[in-house]
């Protein structure tokens, strides 16, 4: 064992390299493989055609989430192609012996919500999924990243992945966040500073006192959006908050204290060197709102829509102008003056119980503006039941929100939950790409509290001045 100080990434990486055959990329062992209906059918079909089996069905977990209705689950799925994809996942899991949290299963939900919730996600693990927001699981001190369908097939067959070691990027956040400023605002702010490709080729480790103060679910929000800065993975070293979160969960290690003793050795050694370090101040962050068509096109709630013609970089100038055109906005417009048609609270970024609590506390005692159609889509069946036990569903329903079943829903609009052309949406999801929530739809990314406030007032509103009832 080398005595060179190692980062969290180094330690997980070193522990998982199976071999590096001469002239080949290293084979990295995969501890947990999460599977959903959209990026897996072709992979299972590949196995079948080659006569291969799933090497570790016990380390593979599946759930339908992207393409499912969030309305009454007792009704048949209306779209025959969606139904076929969901049936295909069910049949594949049956054929290959993979545990499926199916529609109707009490633990079904967005794959990145149920992984941590069930304790499937654990510190020090390598975790992959055919989905770019797999970075979420890094919040628990795992190395977790999204892969393509060919790689899904490779992992199913070999339980390994061909990977070159990524570079490491430390994002240190000093200080703390002001009241009303959330993990979502922090990560949007960081993406705005880094750009959508600032993290390309890197794994981000979020460090510093501001990060350490974040709760487990807030950490998931931060790591979730690492890919929006181009980083395939984001991670946070495990600590007591992580261990307290995992203790007692269904798939947590049986000998938990011994596991904790192992996990306590994961954080980076003093003097471990990152390939790159960037330092930010938590106190600089205000509630964020995206104005454009990528998550780095973001400003504070107290700002105005920027004028892209003033941008120095020609690419940014061109893409900013194109974005304003698509978004139907003009430079100089105050963010708080932007009116909204829709509000979506949900997605693997912001659909956990703390997100719903934050949104409900804003909404309590208010009504959704008559011009706004608002919906809440819990991240999992468990989150939904917990919220209902706490009466949050009534707060939302009484205010005029729709209260839905768990799934990805309008984050990507693969199911019937979509924007119509020109509709403007305050969304707690992770991508504001053109057409992401529906062709011609205009997405503004915000925190759950900011989305809730916008639903009530009908336009963006600075949550720092909200009158809670």
């Amino acid at each position: 064992m080398s005595s060179t100080p190692r980062t969290l990434l180094d330690k997980i990486w070193d522990a998982h390299v199976v071999c590096t055959p001469p002239g080949e990329l290293p084979l990295l062992y995969v501890d947990r493989h999460l599977v959903h209906e959209v990026t897996s059918p072709q992979a299972f079909e590949g196995l079948r055609l080659a006569g291969r089996r799933v090497r570790r069905p016990d380390a593979t977990f599946a759930t339908p989430d992207h393409n499912i209705p969030t309305t009454d689950r007792r009704l048949p799925i209306a779209d025959p192609i969606s139904k076929q994809q969901i049936d295909t996942l069910r049949n594949n899991c049956l054929e290959f012996g993979v545990r499926l949290f199916d529609l109707g299963d009490a633990d079904q939900g967005i794959v990145h919500v149920i992984g941590p919730e069930l304790g499937i996600t654990q510190p020090g693990m390598t975790i992959v999924c055919g989905d770019s927001h797999t970075a979420t699981h890094g919040a628990l001190g795992a190395l977790a990243f999204g892969i393509g369908t060919s790689e899904v097939e490779h992992v199913l067959a070999t339980q390994t992945l061909r990977q070159a070691k990524p570079k490491s990027l430390e994002l240190r956040v000093e200080g703390s966040l002001h009241p009303g400023v959330t993990a979502k605002d922090l990560v949007l702010y960081l993406i705005g500073k880094l750009s959508t490709e600032g993290g390309t080729g890197h794994v981000i480790e979020y460090t510093g006192p501001c990060i350490r103060r974040l709760g487990m679910e807030e950490r998931m929000t931060v790591c979730n959006m690492s890919i929006e800065a181009g980083a395939r993975a984001g991670m946070i070293a495990p600590d007591q908050i992580t261990f307290d979160y995992l203790r007692g969960r269904d798939y947590a290690p049986r000998n938990f204290d011994r596991a904790v003793a192992e996990w306590e050795r994961l954080p980076g050694d003093p003097g471990a060197v990152f390939d790159r370090v960037e330092i930010f101040q938590g106190g600089d962050v205000v509630p964020q709102v995206t104005w454009g068509t990528n998550p780095a096109q973001v400003v504070g709630i107290d700002a105005t829509v920027p004028d892209p013609t003033a941008f120095g970089d020609p690419n940014e100038r061109e893409s900013g102008s194109r974005a304003l055109d698509y978004m139907g906005l003009k430079g100089g417009t105050k963010i708080v003056d932007i009116p909204l048609d829709r509000v979506f609270i949900g997605s693997c970024t912001n659909s956990r119980i703390e997100d719903l609590r934050a949104a409900a506390s804003v909404v309590r005692g208010y009504r959704v503006a008559p011009t706004v159609h608002a919906m809440v889509v819990p991240g999992s069946g468990r989150v939904k039941r917990q919220a209902e036990q706490e009466g949050l569903d009534r707060v939302f329903r009484d205010a005029g929100f729709e209260w839905r079943e768990a799934g990805c829903s309008m984050c990507l609009g693969m199911n019937p939950d979509t924007l119509t052309p020109g509709q403007r949406c305050a969304s707690t999801s992770n991508r504001n790409f053109e057409g992401r929530q529906g062709k011609g739809g205009r997405t503004h990314l915000v925190s759950p509290a900011m989305a809730a406030a916008a639903a009530v007032t009908g336009h963006f509103t600075d949550i720092r001045h909200w009158l809670y009832r």
Partner: protein, 204 residues
């Protein structure tokens, strides 16, 4: 996997940065359970007008780039979702090569799995290729590039010649059209040994 050795083809330029995979293949087309047939949906929301007719303003719809197999784009091509449907759509449409200053990581990896070569060139070289494409088209003909994978070189008939880098393993897989799962399964004894060592550690 389909092999790639050399290729000569018409260049289609897409003068945009941050082209995300949601644009390359919109989500409404991800419900299919096959790997094939995605080319018809490539850049769907840009390529077609609301009534379904081709959008005459979209770069790929210009007659001069009909049959293009080399796509030229700006920074951070393929950002966003991990959907391999994006390279499937590009390959099925006929693209063999994508050239950009930078690519998103997952998209970049996914290309190699589909016999397609993503080529990173310095921004100034990409700018030069945009200039040469415009000049050739202004002169009435499409612009063509040659890609030679064994020597990792991209060139035209008018003096442009640049080398690019490809990971040696990815290069070998492309040249030989290797099944990388089959290749990895050659190391199954090492995988099993890793599992045995870690099961012992975990006391399972």
């Amino acid at each position: 996997m389909q092999s790639f050795v050399t290729h000569t083809g018409i260049v289609a330029s897409l003068d945009r940065a941050n082209v995300d995979t949601d644009q390359i293949i919109p989500k409404q087309f991800l419900k299919r359970i096959e790997r094939t047939g995605f080319g018809q949906f490539l850049f769907f929301d840009w390529r077609f007008l609301p009534d379904g007719a081709p959008n005459p303003d979209f770069e790929l719809n210009r007659p001069i780039v009909a049959g293009a197999s080399v796509l030229l784009a700006r920074r951070n091509f393929g950002c966003g979702s991990s959907r391999e449907h994006a390279p499937w759509a590009l390959a099925d449409y006929g693209f063999k090569v994508v050239i950009a200053p930078t690519f998103a990581d997952i998209f970049f990896n996914n290309c190699f799995q589909n016999g397609m070569v993503p080529i990173r060139l310095p921004e100034a070289d990409v700018e030069e290729l945009f200039r040469r494409t415009r000049a050739a088209e202004a002169a009435g003909g499409p612009y063509r590039l040659h890609v030679d994978l064994p020597s990792c070189n991209v060139s035209d008939d008018a003096g442009f010649s640049r080398s690019f880098t490809v990971d040696p393993f990815r290069k070998r897989c492309l040249l030989e059209g290797l099944d990388d799962i089959g290749l990895s399964l050659q190391h199954v004894d090492k995988i099993a040994a890793w599992e045995a060592a870690h099961a012992a550690l975990a006391g399972e």
